[in-house]
């Protein structure tokens, strides 16, 4: 049987352009040396001027308020305030890392490489994607903290007020607490027995809680980026997979930055949203709050 050999486009290293090359020693080694020296000196100076923090000895009985993870995890801690803990802390970051790792398998075109913003419209996609991520994330945080409803009421002098009818729009949790959900919807049996996987059981579904903690966050996290890319596609901005990835990645970087910043500088005692200059940390020692 004759086997059709299909020529698959296997990417190979580019041929070298030898007449365009320079010597690594000294041209590259010199730059590396300078970069290393700049960083060494800067970090030395920083270390002379600023001491690494060392608080009181660890004490499991004294809880500082707020207690925070290291700064590069505060984006996850911030997400944690808005949705189901497993989703915010584990599922979303894991899925995102898989998506991130799969970038080159989704976008297999070789054009536009080796050059900053090498494809047409790349800068526009970067800026707009980042703006959408930045404004969108701030808006959602603001809304979920109840600040939006508060500010609308304050700025309009109480003229615009939803009263009790629209209280469920105040933040995401009030969709669960302020709407007249029927009794049965909080306990929907979807398994005839209690399926115990390791420690936790699965049998009933509290639909309003599920909606608020998982349904809406999933819809927002999948929906908004998809909507952005769809709109950009309609506008003719996103033409290739690379374009879609640029918008998505830029939106991610901006959202990641906002989440980290809010988690670090805008979350005070009880994880309340405050201005950075109002942020105080209670050491948790009785009588010294």
């Amino acid at each position: 049987m004759a086997t059709a050999v299909v020529a698959r486009p296997v990417a190979r290293p580019q041929a070298r352009a030898r007449d365009e090359e320079v010597l690594v020693w000294p041209d590259l080694v010199f730059i590396e040396f300078i970069a290393a020296m700049v960083f060494t000196i800067t970090l030395f100076l920083l270390s002379f001027l600023v001491n690494a923090p060392l608080l009181d000895q660890a004490n499991a009985d004294v809880t500082p308020n707020p207690s925070k993870a290291p700064w590069y995890l505060l984006n996850l801690q911030e997400l944690l305030l808005h949705m189901n803990a497993a989703m915010a802390g584990v599922i979303i970051p894991t899925i995102w890392l898989v998506i991130l790792g799969a970038f080159p398998y989704f976008d297999r075109e070789t054009e536009g490489q080796g050059k900053w913003f090498g494809t047409a419209g790349a800068i526009r996609l970067t800026v707009v994607g980042a703006l959408v991520g930045f404004i969108g994330t701030w808006f959602l945080i603001f809304w979920d903290a109840g600040k939006l409803a508060y500010l609308i009421g304050k700025w309009s002098g109480g003229a615009i007020s939803g009263g009790d009818t629209f209280r469920f729009l105040e933040n995401v949790r009030s969709i669960q607490t302020q709407l007249p959900w029927p009794e049965w919807s909080t306990r929907i049996t979807y398994l005839p027995f209690n399926l115990k996987i390791l420690d936790s059981g699965f049998q009933h579904l509290n639909f309003p809680a599920w909606l608020v903690e998982q349904g809406i966050p999933i819809a927002v996290l999948v929906g908004l980026p998809s909507l952005m890319i769809y709109a950009m596609w309609k506008l003719g901005w996103v033409m290739t997979r690379r374009d879609a990835l640029i918008a998505l990645f830029s939106g991610f970087v901006a959202a990641y930055g906002v989440l980290t910043m809010v988690g670090t500088a805008f979350r005070g005692a009880g994880q309340e949203l405050v201005y950075p200059w109002e942020l105080t940390v209670s050491e948790g020692i009785p009588g010294q709050e």
Binding site: Q14, P53, L73
Partner: protein, 250 residues
């Protein structure tokens, strides 16, 4: 290169000759002083550290704005953290009884102890930032594209390892900041469906942060994760060369 007419050797030439053309120098470096193109290429090719590089690269790649040296600087931070980390290890014992006391000793009585600790801490922060910026550079220059797909994946793994290295080191000072940050951090890990509580228990060696957590985090921080990171870095650097060096326009 124009051919120079031989002149009478000066005293500098004689010193140069004695320094770089003697038996001992040649036994160590094989090549002469790198002042000719031939020696400059040989010095890169025959040196175990420099041979991470090819002998010659495309001229656009030595432009600082092409990479901002971000990947190299991340690796440089890793090396610096190893050195300062080893120095700190001389003075630090990862037990609940001693950890905090040792920290106080490092910052007060050990010569340059405070400096070493500060360097270690600020370099760790710098490394997290640099690795993230390096990822952004690679993305926006389209350098993940074929044939470099797999190296991007290795890079994502290294990003996670960098976070984990920093996170495991965070507990070691055994102060309130460390204790509660790790409590919050491992609670996040513990919220994972099905495997979360077991993962948290495995990570902490108990239900809450305690003596067993300290030794686990210490072991991961000083040997487990650096070893893993070193392996992935070796693959990462090797693949840069195998995939044709830095990406450049077609």
């Amino acid at each position: 290169m124009s051919v120079e007419t031989p002149t009478k050797p000066t005293i500098a030439d004689k010193i140069y000759d004695k320094l770089f053309h003697n038996y001992i120098w040649k036994s160590i470096f094989r090549t002469g002083y790198p002042n000719t193109p031939r020696n400059q290429m040989l010095v890169v090719a025959t040196n175990v550290f420099l041979h991470l590089h090819p002998t010659r690269i495309h001229r656009t790649h030595v432009k600082i704005t092409h990479t901002y040296c971000l990947g190299g600087l991340s690796f440089f931070m890793f090396l610096g953290l190893t050195i300062t980390g080893i120095l700190l290890m001389f003075y630090y014992v990862p037990s609940v009884e001693r950890a905090y006391l040792d920290m106080q000793n490092i910052t007060t009585t050990v010569q340059f102890g405070q400096l070493m600790r500060n360097m270690h801490r600020w370099m760790a922060h710098a490394m997290v930032i640099l690795v993230f910026l390096h990822m952004m550079r690679v993305f926006y220059t389209g350098a993940y594209k074929p044939p470099r797909e797999f190296n991007w994946v290795v890079g994502v793994v290294l990003l996670v390892l960098t976070f984990l290295l920093s996170f495991t080191g965070y507990l070691l000072p055994w102060d309130q900041l460390a204790f509660w940050a790790i409590t919050v951090g491992t609670n996040i890990a513990g919220s994972a469906p099905v495997l979360g509580p077991k993962t948290r228990f495995w990570l902490l060696g108990g239900f809450e942060v305690g003596p067993d957590s300290l030794i686990r985090f210490y072991t991961l921080h000083v040997i487990g994760l650096p070893l893993l990171a070193a392996i992935f870095m070796a693959v990462h650097f090797w693949r840069i060369r195998r995939d044709g060096g830095l990406a450049r326009p077609l």
